[in-house]
Assembly symmetry: C2
Homo-oligomer: 294 residues x 2
């Protein structure tokens, strides 16, 4: 599949840039740097930074001009995984086929390395080295902070933790996921528009695309959890059901979830249809996300 | 003492602004907002935001123009306390005379609320509402991220955790504290200079003042821990010795530490002496910090 190769090429570029951003630190004391590198390097599909780079390209921004913002976003994603995996949170031992960060480095270092990756994201975004226009730097920081924070991803995680104690209906689950997963997807696509100085209406199209895509991604993830094979997925499966966690697959059934997934992909496609053939990669991304098996 | 009242007046202004920045959220689900308010409101001397506001005033910036940056800094400080108190870190139950955040809200919410306060700091700093000049907003974000991150406060905490396993000498302890405590003090004073568009040499004076002040603050804290009364201090005392933690008081003795404290206060005073009488409040702050009993 051609698209899978496009994604891999992007993932390599992001890996190399993250390596550079996290480099020169191997002798640092106390394992903090090593833990940050472990959490951020060597794995992941890099979907979010891919979306940022491709959204920026839609508005005429070259890949190397979007790469640092893409890496900052990935740092936030990796921090969120490290903290979500902690014993006090989701208590996961396996991630991307490897021991989770706190298993490999201990809880204290896992908490600190997560904190430091989150902080590094803002250092990267605000650095004059990442973009020469301070207005764009400040706007990216503002939007990433809102997406990741108490009205975005962090709130979604809080609701998700709480959902293990109180039942959510399908709307409640979708609302939680729109924060927990959706907020960073929306940032990815809106950041591309910010870098490309897109119009307000084009920014809105990117938000609509990202909203549908984020939901599709989460639904595909839940379907993999319900049906998947731990070895292929690289983390424990069937854990949602095991801990009575609210998912749309549990609420809608596998067939209902698949129908909703198809509708979301169509919604994502429609959102970027006005951009014509320039949006082909983003449309392929939506289809790929819905069909992924790992 | 007049200075104590100046500090209290600032603390009230900071408390009111933090209340507003954290307001309107009491009905939010999952306790995240309540935990953030618990961690950020209702206590503390607010030394760091005080230093930011007074440093800005030195360069002609009105207090209300520095207040949001001061609150952002305090959010970072409060996040660091919440995470440092966690069972996997310093495992403290008492802070400012109240149960620590994870005792009051549980570990998962304490981790998340800390994450969210850190993120909120960057949202506040980058918001057009906090300052109209994007260059200044981006520079504040860049400097705060560096101060709080993997080459600043987070590294200091990593070294400190590690120091419970391996002995540090006096230089090692001072180096650790220059990161763990000093980095946010330096940001406080440098942020004032950034807001006031100060010259590079004036920025350097502020850094020198803050470096000495941060060391003095930490040394006074360690002396309180070694000699203080838990009720007056509002947190457990003698805990450093109990856990074999490296402090300068243990390494230099009480009298040696007091002599060093006096030298640091003189160093801080000398750093801002070129500003003449305009620096009177900052000089009083250095004396107050060295003499504090709680």
């Amino acid at each position: 599949m051609v698209f899978a190769r496009v994604l891999e090429r992007h993932a390599s570029a992001i890996e190399r840039r993250l390596e550079a951003l996290l480099a020169g630190n191997e002798d640092a004391p106390a394992g903090l740097d090593a833990a940050m590198r472990y959490a951020a390097l060597g794995g992941g599909k890099r979907i979010r930074p891919f979306l940022l780079i491709e959204s920026a390209r839609l508005f005429g921004v070259a890949e190397d001009r979007a790469l640092d913002a893409a890496c900052a976003l990935e740092c936030v994603h990796c921090y969120s995984l490290a903290h979500d995996d902690l014993p006090a949170m989701d208590d996961d031992d396996l991630r991307r086929g490897r021991p989770t960060l706190h298993i490999a480095f201990g809880e204290a270092t896992a908490i600190l390395a997560g904190d430091a990756l989150l902080t590094l994201a803002f250092e990267i975004l605000s650095s004059p080295a990442s973009h020469e226009d301070a207005d764009i730097r400040a706007e990216l920081v503002f939007n990433l902070a809102k997406a990741a924070g108490w009205r975005g991803m962090a709130l979604g995680q809080a609701i998700d933790l709480d959902a293990e104690r109180q039942d959510l209906n399908a709307d409640g689950v979708a609302g939680m996921q729109a924060l927990k997963t959706g907020a960073l997807f929306r940032f990815a696509c809106e950041a591309g528009a910010i870098l490309g100085r897109a119009s307000a209406s084009d920014r809105e199209k990117m938000r609509a695309y990202a909203t549908a895509l984020g939901q599709a991604f989460q639904l595909a993830d839940d379907l993999l959890d319900a049906q998947g094979d731990a070895k292929a997925v690289g983390k424990a499966v069937a854990k949602d059901e095991g801990r009575g966690k609210a998912t749309l697959v549990a609420l809608l059934g596998v067939e209902g979830a698949k129908a909703r997934l198809a509708a979301l992909v169509a919604e994502a496609e429609n959102a970027v249809a006005p951009f014509g053939s320039k949006a082909a990669t983003l449309i392929e991304a939506a289809r790929f996300i819905a069909e992924r098996r790992t």
